[in-house]
Symmetry: C2
Subunit: 330 residues, 2 copies
């Protein structure tokens, strides 16, 4: 059974007030959609609600109702709030330069679905069984018996769609699809969300993907694909760091591939390595050997003071060793 | 309101018998998933049910329960059937070399969601509001009050997921997501389906995509992206015709692009042109000028006796003309 929404959370939102909703650093669709959705719902009930973020909202999420009103930390200096709401945020320090402002708010509410959440805040509601924070906010609004406007529905649908990879990740459940259906009934338009989020890529991102797929190396008898993206390729295509994101998942799609690795330069000068695996190899173990971390299927690490080629040689050797260790174990 | 399942269809399926389910040519996820799902449900009720197809089941759908039992026309010669079921099939001639065998079956039932369906068959049930034939088969099985096994659920979920582009196309409705949720409750696993269908690409397909994105030309001030895939590139990567499918949709994702075109050689020697548009241009109008057709957002045409470069020049000129005509009209 789905655990109920804690009464303390419901009570805090029922009380009229001025709410500050903070996004986590590198905000994703769940952070943005859940926070914008709840802020909109609060405003529709006559409250003041401000969404703030260390970084600007990524282009693909700017179609969301309220995205243009997201403030930066400097914009809220001097403002006072009754309640801070942190949604999809594993720890208070995950809000970056917003954190000092959150410490000044008398009540901090923590709503999250990550099992690794630190449990910060005066009231915390963690549900690791929820596929996304968007699902939790939906349950909260229903519990409050507020109506769900098309604007709120669009925000929450986007949160759910993005955190489940368009209903394809392991976390996609009956509740996920059921909630998505109800949000469509409330006015969310799946095509509009899908088009904005999944059908827009910058030209430099397309060029980087093309370069990577054309130059990807197949190793370990086809179980391992890797590629390097040197900074001069970024420069050639006018690409920024963010244009390289997501490429490693495309490498993993290649038939037979168990581990995919992208070794790429960054604007800071550090070399970043992104790992993905399909089913067998725990890539967080490999990344942690180099001071990084992540999950079994997605991990990363960063090197300073080493060249791209040096990093590639280190990482490729580590992955091949892990794959042959697995082969022996089988 | 959703129109009810016709009583004639329900009655024919309630009668015990031997059923032949035919796939359409170039079978897609909806054709395969709906037919395998209904065949499995019929068998669970004690009937005989055979799925037949002119072509073999594409690799990405071979994980589906029953996919290994799909027969070719030659395999069913001499067998007799009581009822033929054509699902997601716009016309009887869309079954290719299977058609003569269907003519021998005493009763033909036509279940489809394409508004262009010819209305063939002894009993036909066309619901253009259904996002997929899989949704219709789900309603049919519920109407019959048969239980839905995990095998049936997996097939129907795949039909729905693929015909809605993983719940992102315009056809995705409340009913689509509601049905998907109920199929998950019945045992379909979204991750398993998503991984099999969307996360596997052949190495040659990856290389062709890389080549295309690296070489795509941006024209008409960024509103038009096009690329050519000559046969020597297919040969270099050991690619087959099918490895080039889907690439044109990747071109369209480029920010600002309204029309995307892929001009590619084929194994038959003909040059094929695939068109996609985002929102404004009706590409079926352009394709039809060259003897092709399709929809407003997706169309194609084929040229014989012309070189790739000749075709490119013709098509690029036609698209640029259409885009400048639109500009003037705005």
């Amino acid at each position: 059974m789905t655990p109920d929404v804690p009464a303390a959370v419901v009570e805090l939102l029922q009380r009229p007030g001025c709410f500050l909703l903070g996004l986590h650093v590198s905000p994703d669709g769940d952070s943005i959609g859940s926070s914008l959705g709840l802020a909109q719902a609060l405003k529709e009930q006559g409250n003041q609600a401000v969404v703030a973020s260390e970084e600007s909202v990524p282009t693909i999420y700017r179609f969301l109702p309220g995205a243009g009103d997201v403030l930066r930390p400097a914009d809220i200096a001097g403002q006072s709030f009754d309640v801070a709401l942190l949604i999809d945020c594993g720890g208070l320090n995950r809000t970056g330069t917003l954190e000092p402002f959150l410490h000044k708010v008398p009540v901090v509410v923590n709503i999250d679905h990550h099992i690794t959440n630190t449990g910060f805040g005066d009231v915390s509601w963690i549900d690791p069984d929820a596929a996304s924070a968007g699902e939790m906010v939906y349950r909260l609004i229903r519990k409050l018996q507020w109506s769900i406007s098309p604007q709120v529905a669009t925000c929450l649908y986007t949160a759910i769609s993005t955190d489940t990879g368009s209903f394809r990740y392991q976390n996609t459940s009956f509740a996920t699809l059921q909630t998505a259906a109800e949000l469509v009934a409330a006015g969310a338009r799946p095509f509009e969300v899908g088009d904005a989020v999944y059908e827009h890529k910058s030209l430099p991102a397309q060029r980087l993907l093309g370069y990577t797929l054309a130059n990807m190396v197949m190793a370990a008898g086809g179980k391992f694909s890797y590629a390097c993206l040197p900074w001069n390729v970024y420069e050639k295509y006018g690409a920024k760091d963010e244009d390289g994101e997501g490429i490693v998942s495309e490498l993993r799609k290649t038939d037979g591939v168990e581990v995919a690795v992208l070794v790429h330069d960054t604007s800071s000068g550090a070399v970043k390595v992104s790992f993905r695996s399909r089913a067998e190899v725990d890539v967080s173990r490999i990344a942690s050997r180099f001071g990084g971390g992540g999950h079994a299927r997605a991990a990363a690490c960063t090197f300073s003071g080493k060249s791209l080629d040096e990093v590639r040689d280190l990482v490729v050797a580590a992955v091949e060793e892990e794959l042959s260790r697995q082969n022996r174990a089988e």
